[in-house]
Amino acid sequence: MPSLSTEANRQSDVPLAGLYIHVPFCSAICPYCDFAVLVGGHEQRRHFVDSLLLEIALYADLELSGLGPVCFDTIYLGGGTPSMLTPDDLGRIFDALRRTVDLTADAKISLEANPEDVTSASLQAWRRLGVATLSLGVQSFDGDELRVLGRRHSPEDAIRSIKQAVAAGFDSVSVDLIFGLPDQDTSTLRRNLEQAVALAPDHISSYELEIHPRTTFGKQHARGELHELPEGQQAELFLLTHRVLAEAGYPAYEVSNFARHPRYRSQHNQKYWRHVPYVGLGPSAHSFDGQQRWWNERHLAKWQRQIEAGHRPVAGRERLSTQDLALETLMLSLRTVAGLDLSSFEARFDFDLVAHNRALVEQLDREGLLRLHDNLLAPTLEGFAVADGLAAGFSLQGLGRQAVRSTSRSIDKRLDRQV
């Protein structure tokens, strides 16, 4: 049921959801990457876009369980390398979305791009298509590091692409970096961070290198050819990243994300962390409606076969129990600077987290890992570094004996609070 939407005809309690599109193509596979990616030719990419348009059509009358019709205010193209799609193909996707699903008038489009795909022509095309945020997969400004990471761009490409992007007039430009390479020391990391800051992007993501078993790095690691950085050094680099970026005017708002002003924080990614509904299209993309999470077929061919047969290409789904939702809320909140709002946690789950974990909270506060103030439980910088363990340490025993209270209203409230 196509609808030309305006904000006026939107029901007030319909949450604003996020839409993610996974573009699984890269010009080469990076040795550390464990996303669903493949190297595809021009024809294959065009065929992918055809399938994607069909998938979008399958979501024409999308209603999320318990929430009714859904309206999106963020669109995020990730991958893979979405910048490998031609402007023509990107245009077909955006047209289809506008025709088929309910978007707010000011829905924000983000696009991930590799530096080598950034030219003045492509930048102009993306601007014309309405891309608001350009996220550049720079990873490093060091030639050796880029080679180790198997990237296809040079430090000069990286610098040039950021300069051009910043000048092109996007709402915001973000730079992705990777730290924690096997031999990285504080001085190479510091140079990377300083170089990024010098180019004045609006947002920086700095991810630690993770070695996943099925990747090239994973196999090298298993054979003993590649060593993970010792934990102490990982901690040192993690803390250095946060300190350098904060001093340069990019305070963290999440474990790996930094913005020079709250308005540059990723609207889309924050939805994942706040249990706001989102729909993912494309191979391996995940969706969430507040209670259920489902995910698409990971392999392109399987994904395509399902769509061509007229089915949503869903590979699996799970219904989250109250316990699951509470644990996720805890784990996701403790990764953010804002931390966990205890009163909304209690309102939502009918569970007084601090009362059930008094000794732990006091200990963590004494150790300087967590701060409890104004009914907020917020990690410190050192706490950020051990956020996984923090979440796992809390007891949720006894939670969920009563049914979870409706989430839609609190979601709206939390959206309103977004800066």
Binding site: H286, F288, L369
Partner: protein, 599 residues
């Protein structure tokens, strides 16, 4: 009586005892091939898996010998560990002879010696049997020589066999018939039978295993138990083939079973002498000793929801194991549990393993303790086997601890290291004698508490497996007892408290701290671990905090995967006990009990 032979098989572990028993049973048609399974006499899973025998068992084998007569061969299977030595002794007491089984490639080993001496103590006739002669590494001549020089047995009496292939099995059976004496005893004397073991049958109650020494047992007979002074009527008796075969009478010299309306193994005393109520024997059989628990430990379910299952499990084990004692106990750290008494550490391990396996329980145990005798300043005497019940030191006049007489048999070359080990363990009056040239027996009066903690492991290490060990309880001696508490992150973990000799306190506390440091997972904060006596810290270690564990990416919407990782982490914590804000894994409670020999 001439056609009866009562015998057992004694052997070092893995020398093929169960396989030989299996083969003898098969040869005598004791079991149809379709019913056959390996280690047929070991009925408990744990016996099969560990290759050890815990309960005695017995089987009567009809055997037609070369002299044309049919014999009743009673094979009595015995446990082979020092913890169960009272059971071994009673089994040996019901035999006239023993097959001493020796591996053709391994030769004479520590347990071979210990078992031989035990058998000789009961005047058993010994037939040396060399097993596994089919092995490529078999060296029959060397083993024959060892039998001569190390055991002092006649090398020409040796029977060769392979229990695996069946070669020589007939020779073994013929040797039993020809070389072992028939039982002796006066059939007309008043009834005198040894109760050497008992099993619990859910339908029939207690099934007593007996060896008739004099007179006979009959159906309907009124029995009198000479030690426990109880009276029963024989409801059923007979021989044990693989199943019970009821009969009318058990004659002099025979081995069999009696069912006499005994409700629980607690009601009878293993080792008791059974006689006729109306015409009692004047004297019981010699050698009766009550099996008293000497090792005490508290058991707690890891999950407090499992408490009821633990109660059921202990009740059920107790039906078949009179030597296990238990009473309610509770711990601030571990919740409700039971204080249990055991015959020794293996007994403890076996009980724990059976509870975990047969009742699906996951258990935590406190440090094993002996029972101390405390005299208070008021003159009152108390027996303490639980550290948490130790009176305040200022109220104690004297403490005494149980001593044992330890006997270690070993080749001469280890004497130095073993004497050093005994000295380390506060052994007194250590002495040794040569049994044969090259082989010595060392005796030492040692506190039992010193033996509880990894003595057996250490002995095996220092003698490379050649030392065998046995002990008898001796007496109580005055000692300097202190209570060592363990603090994890400043919180006392009562289940880790222990009573030790003052001289050993520091080393033991450090051992605990170090094991805990290795087994408690690092947390986000530093965890000090301290061993203290009263308010004085005598040992300490620290578990450093981890500083980085957060995964970088949590976007693309795949939150489920990440949540599952954290759930897994949390799942791991379920097997842990929360003490203050520190999780202590079950392994930590076990690790502290483990030896640090070899480290």
């Amino acid at each position: 009586m001439d056609t009866i032979r009562n015998f057992c098989i004694i052997a070092h572990i893995d020398h093929g005892k169960s396989t030989l028993a299996d083969r003898l049973i098969q040869r005598c048609g004791g079991v149809h091939d379709r019913d056959f399974r390996d280690q047929i006499l070991d009925s408990m899973d744990i016996e099969r898996e560990r290759g050890i025998t815990i309960k005695s068992n017995t089987i009567t084998l009809p055997y037609e010998a070369q002299d044309g007569k049919t014999y009743s061969l009673n094979l009595i299977d015995t446990p082979g560990h020092v913890d169960f030595s009272h059971e071994v002794r009673r089994s040996l007491m019901s035999c006239e002879g023993a097959l001493l089984l020796i591996d053709a490639s391994q030769g004479v080993e520590a347990q071979t010696m210990a078992n031989l001496y035990l058998a000789l103590e009961y005047d058993l006739e010994i037939i040396p049997v060399i097993n596994k002669i089919d092995l490529p590494s078999a060296d029959v001549e060397r083993v024959r020589e060892e039998i001569d020089s190390e055991l002092g047995l006649d090398p020409f009496e040796v029977v060769l066999c392979s229990a695996k292939t069946g070669v020589g099995i007939d020779d073994v059976l013929e040797a039993v018939v020809q070389k072992l004496p028939a039982p002796v005893g006066d059939p007309n004397a008043p009834t005198k039978a040894l109760l050497f073991d008992a099993q619990y049958d859910i339908y029939r109650g207690v099934v007593m295993l007996v060896r008739v020494r004099e007179g006979s047992l009959r159906k309907g007979q009124e029995l009198f138990m000479m030690h426990s002074k109880k009276r029963y009527t024989v409801e059923e008796l007979g021989h044990l083939l693989l199943e019970r075969v009821a009969g009318k009478e058990l004659g002099t010299g025979t081995v069999g079973y009696i069912i006499a309306g005994v409700k629980s193994v607690q009601d009878i005393a293993i080792g008791d002498t059974i006689t006729d109520f109306d015409q009692p024997a004047s004297e019981p059989l010699p050698g009766y000793k009550e099996a008293k628990p000497v090792v005490f430990s508290s058991m707690y379910p890891v999950s407090s929801d499992d408490y009821e299952d633990l109660v059921k499990g202990l009740d059920k084990l107790h039906l078949n194991d009179a030597s296990l004692t238990y009473e309610k106990d509770s711990s601030a750290a571990l919740g409700f549990g039971f204080r249990c008494g055991f015959l020794g550490l293996l007994h403890l391990e076996v009980v724990q393993e059976r509870l975990e396996r047969e009742h699906g329980l996951s258990l935590l145990l406190s440090a094993p303790s002996v029972r101390y005798e405390i005299v208070l300043k008021t003159g009152e005497e108390v027996a303490i086997d639980n550290p948490s019940l130790l009176p305040d030191p200022t109220e104690i006049e004297t403490s005494a601890e149980p001593y044992i007489k330890a006997a270690v048999m070993m080749p001469e070359r280890y004497i130095g290291t073993v004497m050093e080990l005994c000295r380390e363990r506060r052994g007194e009056n250590t002495a040794f004698t040569y049994l044969t040239p090259g082989r010595v027996e060392l005796t030492s009066e040692m506190p039992l508490a010193e033996v509880l903690f990894d003595f057996y492991d250490r002995l095996k290490t220092v003698t490379q497996g050649y030392g065998s060990f046995d002990y008898d309880m001796l007496d109580y001696r005055i000692t300097d007892l202190v209570k060592v508490d363990i603090l994890v992150n400043q919180e006392r973990v009562d289940a880790l408290s222990q009573l030790v000799h003052r001289d050993k306190a520091r080393a033991r506390a450090l051992h605990y701290c170090e094991r805990l440091e290795e087994t408690i997972p690092r947390q986000q904060f530093k965890i000090p671990i301290q061993g203290v006596i009263g308010g004085t810290v005598i040992a300490r270690t620290t578990i450093n905090a981890f500083r980085k564990d957060v995964t970088a990416k949590c976007y693309g919407g795949d939150i489920s995967r990440k949540r599952k990782l954290i759930e897994k982490q949390k799942e791991g914590k379920k097997r842990m006990k929360m003490v203050g804000s520190v999780e202590i894994p079950q392994e930590a409670f076990l690790a502290v009990l483990k030896s640090d020999a070899g480290k």
